[in-house]
Amino acid sequence: MTTDYTPMWQELGLDLAGHDALLNVLGTAYTDIYLSQKNRPEGMGYFDFVMSEVHGLRIKELMDEKAAGRKIIGSYCVFVPEEIVLAANATLVGLCSGADFAMEKVEQLLPRNTCSLIKSSFGFKIGKVCPYLESADMIVGENTCDGKKKAYETLGAMVNNLYVMDLPQTKTDQTKDLLKAEYMKFKAAVENLTGVAVTSESLKSAINVVNAKRAAIHRLSSLRKADPAPISGLDALLANQVFFYDNPARFTESVNKICDELETRIQEKTGAFPADTPRILVSGCPQAVPNWKLHMITETAGAVIVGEESCVGERGTRNLTADTGTTVEEMMDAIVDRYFQVDCAIFTPNSQRLDHIQEMAAAYNAQGVIHYGLQFCQPYLMESIPVEKALEEKNIPCLRVETDYGMEDAGQLKTRVEAFIEQLR
């Protein structure tokens, strides 16, 4: 890192010693896990740069936006519509929740048997090490699982800018109306924050920006269908993670550039791994930066991950928002339609997810599926059993993994993943 961002971090009120320690761990992990990979596409250099500046240059950009009067909104969930945020002249960023931090203090506020993702979001707040969180003018919580719902009650007392959005848990006409009411309320809250009213022009343009970002990810995903896979699962996961942080237009351009390169690689039959490497689909809980544990273990054990059925992955980006509306009302309806299709495990029943997993396994030619469950994440752990059953009925082997952000189970996990890969050969 060439620029000294210390004054900026200081201004944001970060705990500098803790933050340095975090960046050190992150830097080492990135070098060990990412830079040690062989046959990476050159375009990944962009993401290497983004990661090296994830708490630096990107935060500087956000601070510059703030100085110019734009607002920053932080979110923990794919149900927060970026279209609305952009249309009201604000920037949406994903908030840190992918690593353990300040766990002893977290466990004074949350029960031990809370999932790693929720604990992590608290750790970053208590430890004052997430510059995204500290720079946010509004933090959006959402009533998804019980863990998050109740945790936001506690978080609300720790910050002065938490906005909690309610979400339905079933899919009917009435609950769709509820989602619409919540999104209208959210629109009003964002407009109130920025002082900028959402217009049909601004909303249309926002829909196009976000759709373009999703379309770039779709293009990347579909290139992963090739054998040999032109990009590692780790690298593709990183692109899906950076989706939540980066400037949308620049992200879209960079992903498309990588896709151009991947198309050439496919023509030349250049892979991140040799042809016929066992192909695995990962399905389940979101993997937020820097949670690369399962991908790292799987790809160093001799398989390639070809898709993520996850919020940080296809569940989050699957659908585009229809851009045919001409009025704000019509476009808000299109946004509701789009987000209402997300098949998060908080919904009951949630059979679309089962269908999507099977469709993805077929589309990406995956020989097996690893169901990734975070320990104590009841919705996904519950669903893992019917997922396994449905896949086995189709003779698709499934390994159910239940883990957290710690590394103490890495040895056992590696053995199980290796044995699963042996099973696929």
Binding site: E392, P397, E402, T403, E408, D409, G411, Q412, L413, T415, R416, E418, A419, E422, Q423
Partner: protein, 261 residues
Amino acid sequence: MTTETTAVRYAGIDIGSRTIKLVVVDASGKILERFQSDTGFDPMTTANALIAKVSFDKIMATGYGRNLFELSFDAPTVTEIKAHARGAWTEFPDARTVLDIGGQDSKAIALFDTGKVKKFEMNDRCAAGTGKFLEIMAATLGFELADFGAQALAAEKDLLISSMCTVFAESEVTSLIAKGEDRKEIARGLHTSVIRRAAGMINRVSSNGPIVFTGGVAKNPCMKELLYRKLDRDIMIPSDPQLAGAFGAALLSAEQEKTGS
């Protein structure tokens, strides 16, 4: 690694948490030599000493120390799941289910007719319900490990032990001792709790047919008997259940040579 005999010799080494096992087979899969040693605190030195005793042409490593072995000896590796499956299936070709309880892990494996792994379950994180658990409990109750199973089997009844965690179970046992309970019955209760857990794993992978029981814990007669009573399925134990992993690795080494993969 010199070859003195004309027939090709394939070795399998299973570097477990408690013991290291080494088996040498010929191309037909016949066991030529077998060795076993405590793992100790320095597994690679122990492994070195073991392999110095035998001659072989190819070696394959399995067990939790396999990756360390791979680095030191540039040998191919296989997981203990596939190795145990192959070892057990070779001795009992009709078997479609394998239960392996080793020093610090346990696994239930379902097999295809070809001996290939179809599905498996493995304990994660802690040593609950494994050899180490039984070893600690035997010591707490003042039994010799070799005699622990026979003593438990001789008990007239079973005392309920609800905890599977070694630490909690130990305090549960201590309080039962303090209450003046018969230590054989406590021992029996501990065996029952391990079997309850193992049966749960087996049921998740297969629902019928005989079970091959491997690993050091298979030597315990009480475990075999209780498993049979719990599941009402035939329990078959290899001639040397602890060697199943090393035997499987040796066979897979020979197979790899044949297929060239």
